[in-house]
Every structure is written in C-alpha cells, then in structure tokens.
C-alpha cells in the first residue's frame, strides 16, 4: 500500500507507474529515478524534492535528530482570502504530512556534525512565516551554543502573505540570526534549491558564508511577472537561473544534487580549519576560539606597545610621523 502511494506521488506523466521527465521526456522506473537523487539520468533535470527526501540525501543514515517539532503555526491576523488561513494550513499539512514549511535539527553530513534546516516548497510554497523564522533562529542559536556549523537548504516562494507584516519581520529576524552566527564565527552554508525567490533570498540565504545552488534552480527577488507588469522590460530567456546567477557573481558554485553532500562536508571542514571535523562532544568550540582570538589580539597590542617603548617613540598622538602606521606596528 505504501509503495502505491509513493508511486502515485512521484508520477507526473499519464502512467503513474512510470516517471517521465518533463524536460526531455525520458521514461524511467520511479524507484530507480529516486535512487538517482530524483534527477533525470538522461538530461540532468533536477526534480523538486521535499524536506524529508532532502534530509535523507544529505544526512548520514540515522544521524538526523529533528528538533523544535512542538512549534505551532497560529493565525494572529485571522487572515481570510478565498479560504481562511487555518483551512489552507490544514490542507497543506494533510497533503505533505508536515506541520510547517521547514524541518530543522542536528545531523552529520559525511561525518561532519552540523545544525541542519531544510525548507519544503511543497508546504504552502515553502513560504516563510513566524514558525519558519523561529525554527531558523533556534537552529542558528543551537549552532552557536554547540559550536556546530549551520547548513540551510532553502526552497521558497518568499514570505507567507497570510501572516502579513509578521512574515515580513522574519526577514529581519533571520538576518539577525546570521549576525549571531557571524559574531560567534560559526560557519553558515546555504543551498538554494528550485525555486528560491522573494523574502528568503533577500535575507538569510544570500548572507551565508558560502552560497550554492542546484542546476537549473530559479533564483530571484522580484519575479518575471512582477517585473513585466511594473516596468514592461524584456527578460532574458535564462533570467534567474542558477547558471546565470553564477556567471553574474551571485553564487559560489552550481552543484549537482549527487555531489551536494560531499561538497557541503568539504566546505564545512575547510571553514572549521585544517580538515579536522569537530566531534559532537566538543561543545563550545566557537566560543573558545573567539576567546582565544581576543587574547591573541591583546598580546599583540602589548607587544607593539613594548616595541614603541624600545624605539623611544610615543605610541599615541605626536606629529605627522603617524607612529600608529602599519609599517611601524609590524616592526
């Protein structure tokens, strides 16, 4: 029974027992297709995948520990368009089996431990509301507290309109979360999966230390329709694609899904310095390192001051000789 359900969900063509590539028409066995990272074996088309499948692909087997599952979405504005917001939420929850558009927790990726937050476009377009923002904040906070890096996979249409200005505020909130990470020198890697647009790209995603995207993913703040309606501009055919964004300098790399896990692990090891992956048990590494940096800086300042004393010049004030210049400080 479970298998039939699975196949039905995967099937996009007329025959639910086969998977047909929407780009090249290639016909594949759904389970084989899924084993191939849900990527078309012929043309490399990356089908959108949900948060659970993404986590299964990225996290080492059994390493993902989901957290903050108790947070519940509310309807503070009593938002009602053609349908009330709680109704839309219930439908999204029933269809996806998830409670919100993000799943967050801790995991190891190719043996590198990290905090992991994955968005799901299938849940109300992956839109960012209060709970998505709060889970991202907690993931960042947990990363800072444990000294683990943060990996976020974003796939979102933007802010959740049904939460009005509160969803807009999640852009500022997640930006502050990045500030928290930067302050603690905790590495932050963002992966942009199709589509990644609106509020999320103009906040935490593009502020990551390293920002990569999947092939063919569409990434933009304002979409083609809004641009055409407002400015009536002609859009290039490949507007907003990952490849075009890479050429324009907005991405570090375009990484095929099959290579994503290894790539992330390599980035994390490099950012942690010296290829020594931090064990889950080595908590507080980031804070200790911050402390050491400050100590080193103080020692260096003292050395420079001593050097000035020896050479007989005054370290502060004086004439135009600028005793504080870098050349002198280096001696």
């Amino acid at each position: 029974m479970a298998v039939t359900v699975e196949i039905e969900r995967l099937g996009t063509g007329p025959d639910p027992r086969r998977w047909t590539c929407p780009k090249c028409g290639h016909d594949a066995d759904p389970l084989e297709f899924r084993k191939n990272w849900s990527v078309c074996p012929t043309c490399g088309y990356h089908q959108r995948i949900g948060a659970r499948e993404r986590i299964a692909q990225l996290a080492d087997d059994g390493s993902f520990f989901e957290r903050w599952t108790h947070l519940r979405t509310m309807d503070p504005l009593e938002f009602h368009d053609l349908e009330p917001y709680p109704e839309r939420l219930r439908e999204a929850q029933a269809a996806s089996g998830m409670t919100e558009a993000i799943v967050a927790g801790t995991a190891t990726i190719a043996s590198v431990p990290c905090a992991l937050a994955v968005m799901d476009f299938g849940f109300m377009g992956g839109s960012m509301g209060s709970v998505v923002g709060e889970k991202l904040w907690r993931a960042a906070e947990a990363a800072v507290d444990t000294g683990l890096p943060l990996v976020a996979v974003a796939s979102s249409g933007g802010a959740r309109m049904q939460e009005g200005a509160l969803s807009l505020m999640q852009m500022a909130k997640t930006t502050c979360a990045v500030d928290l990470l930067n302050d603690a020198r905790v590495p932050f890697i963002a992966v942009m999966a199709d589509p990644c647009t609106g509020g999320v790209v103009a906040s935490f995603v593009t502020l990551a230390d390293i920002c990569v995207a999947e092939p063919g993913a569409l990434l933009y703040f304002s979409g083609p329709r809004v641009i055409q309606q407002t400015t009536r501009e002609e859009l290039p055919d490949d507007f907003g694609t990952a490849e075009r964004n890479l050429a324009l300098g907005h991405l570090d790399a375009v990484v095929p899904r099959a290579e994503l896990k290894e790539k992330i692990a390599r980035y994390l090891r490099l950012l942690k310095g010296g290829g020594q992956p931090d064990g889950l048990d080595r908590r507080g590494t980031a804070r200790r390192r911050g402390g050491r940096t400050r100590k080193l800086a103080r020692a260096a300042t003292a050395r420079v001051a001593a050097a000035f004393k020896d050479s007989g010049s005054e370290p502060v004030g004086g004439d135009g000789a600028s005793p504080g210049s870098p050349e002198e400080a280096a001696t």
């Binding site: 519940r72 503070p76 368009d81 939460e163 509160l166 500022a172 906040s203 935490f204 075009r244």
Partner: protein
C-alpha cells in the same frame, strides 16, 4: 420568536458591519499614505534637519535617486539621515523611480550606515516606498543581497537608530531601512509584506480585490502596534499629514526626540543586543508548552 436565534443574527450582522468598516478604513489609509501631496522624506528633512548636506553615490557604480541620504543636525546632534524619496510631479517620480530603490540605493544606505558607525553619529531613517525596484538590471545587479546586507549593516550598528514610516512601507524594500532600535509609524502610513494589489492578484487571482487584500493584511499603524512590529504610532493632523505638513513634522520630531532620549541611556553594546532581541521576538507561534526545551 426565539431570542437566542435573534441574538445570533444580530451578532453576525454586527461582525459584518465591523468588517466593512475596517475594509473601508484600511483602504482609506492606503489612499492617504499614497496621496501625491503627502509630505515626503525631503519635506521632513526641511522641517527636522538643520544644515542638511546631501551625500551621494554608492562608491561602486551609481547614485540611486530613490534613496536620499546625508548629514545634518537634529536637535543639536549630528545625524546621518537615510530615506526613500518619492517624487510629486511625473518628472520627479520618474527621476526617483517612484521611491523604488535599486541595489545601488541600498549600497548607498550601507555606506552611510558605516559612516555613522565610524564617527559615532546617530542614524535616522525615513521609510516611504512601494517596494524594491523590480527590474532585470536591479535583479542581476544583486538586489536580494543588497537588501539583506542593508538589514545586516543596520543590525550591527552600535549607535542609536530610529526609523520612521512616513508613507507606504512596502515589503523588503522598506524593511531594508527599518532594522532600527525604535520603529515609529505615522497614523496613516502602511507597512506590509506585499502591496494589496499584488496580494489580491495572487490570493484572489484578481487585482480588483485590493481593498479586501488590504484589510486582510492588517497594514495600519494601530494594527501593527500590538504585534510589536512598530513601537509607537505618531499622530497626524486631522485628515492626514498633507493637510498640515508642518504640524505633522512637529509630531514626528517629538517622537524621534523621545526615542533618542531613551536610546542615549544605553551603552553601544546594549543597543546592538537589544535591537537584535527586538527582532528576534517578532512573530506569533504556539505550542511552547508542548515540549520541554
């Protein structure tokens, strides 16, 4: 006749009336916020800032006229001012892209925030924009990251930062100048995640439903105050700020001055921590009691 049935009917009627009233009021607020004669950032600079010296350019490639910035004196203290600038005549509107900033605008803002931090100057921002400029060149010039970085650079300031919403506060383009210690909002200003027209086009599949969308988004100052999104509603003269710009400016002045008095009492580090905490708390979620964390 059944009394409870009658009560039920009256309650329903009352609710519908309240609904209609709110829709009417919200839509009216939008009309006032977008009114051509409403005082803009430059008008407030004239009323509030002495010896304003405009500083132009992002030091990378351009000067975005949709954002005006510079130095001046506010109540005897040197300040850096940054605000969206909409135009009044068609020529002005075109020159200022209707207050819709491009990446170079947000980068100019960042450059001015850095200037303020370096020289320990208070930052005042004025928000009045339909949103960020939606164009191919803006997108491909890094619009998303420019907005994100503008927010981050505001979050990192240790000097006092006060933002005032004076007209339309449209989406990320508005928020890019509003990550402040205190966010003040004029009575007839709006602040929303999307324009009512945009929201109606997506959720109602018809932009004609803009008044309904406007009501649903709850974008007015009095609705945002209890959510903690704004800290203070600044009253306007009867009929709106355009009826008596000078009186409107006086009230904005007093609100900013009071906010600064509070912020002056804090240490630079505290200001930064409290600003972060302010935005961290924003949002409404439930289920806290379900699991021990």
């Amino acid at each position: 006749m059944n009394l409870s049935e009658e009560m039920e009917r009256l309650r329903g009627l009352l609710k519908r009336r309240q609904h209609e009233r709110r829709r009417h009021d919200t839509w009216l607020t939008y009309q006032i916020a977008r009114n051509k004669d409403r005082p803009r950032t430059r008008d407030y600079l004239g009323f509030l800032i002495e010896d304003f010296e405009e500083l132009r350019g992002d030091r990378l490639r351009a000067d975005d006229r949709a954002i005006v910035g510079g130095l001046g004196w506010f109540d005897g203290r040197a300040v850096v001012v940054v605000g969206h600038q909409k135009g009044r005549t068609l020529d002005e509107q075109t020159e200022h892209s209707f207050g819709m900033a491009k990446p170079e605008g947000y980068r100019k803002a960042q450059r001015l925030f850095a200037l303020a931090e370096r020289h320990r100057l208070t930052v005042l921002t004025f928000v009045d924009t339909p949103g960020a400029y939606p164009g191919v060149a803006a997108e491909e010039g890094g619009q998303a990251r420019a907005i994100a970085e503008s927010m981050l650079s505001m979050a990192r300031l240790s000097v006092p930062v006060v933002a005032t919403l004076i007209g339309e506060g449209g989406s990320g383009g508005a928020l890019a100048l509003a990550v402040a210690d205190r966010v003040l909002m004029q009575e007839n200003a709006t602040y929303s995640v999307i324009s009512p027209e945009g929201c109606a086009a997506i959720l109602w599949r018809d932009a004609e439903f803009a008044p309904q969308a406007a009501e649903a988004l709850r974008p007015t100052a009095s609705q945002l105050l209890p959510l903690g999104i704004v800290d203070r509603v600044v009253e306007e003269p009867r009929g709106g700020a355009h009826q008596h710009p000078e009186a409107a400016a006086r009230r904005v002045h007093d609100a900013i001055a009071e906010a600064l008095t509070e912020l002056d009492a804090l240490m630079p580090r505290e200001r930064r921590m409290l600003r972060r905490e302010r935005f961290r708390k924003l949002g409404v979620w439930g289920g806290e009691g379900l699991l021990p964390e």
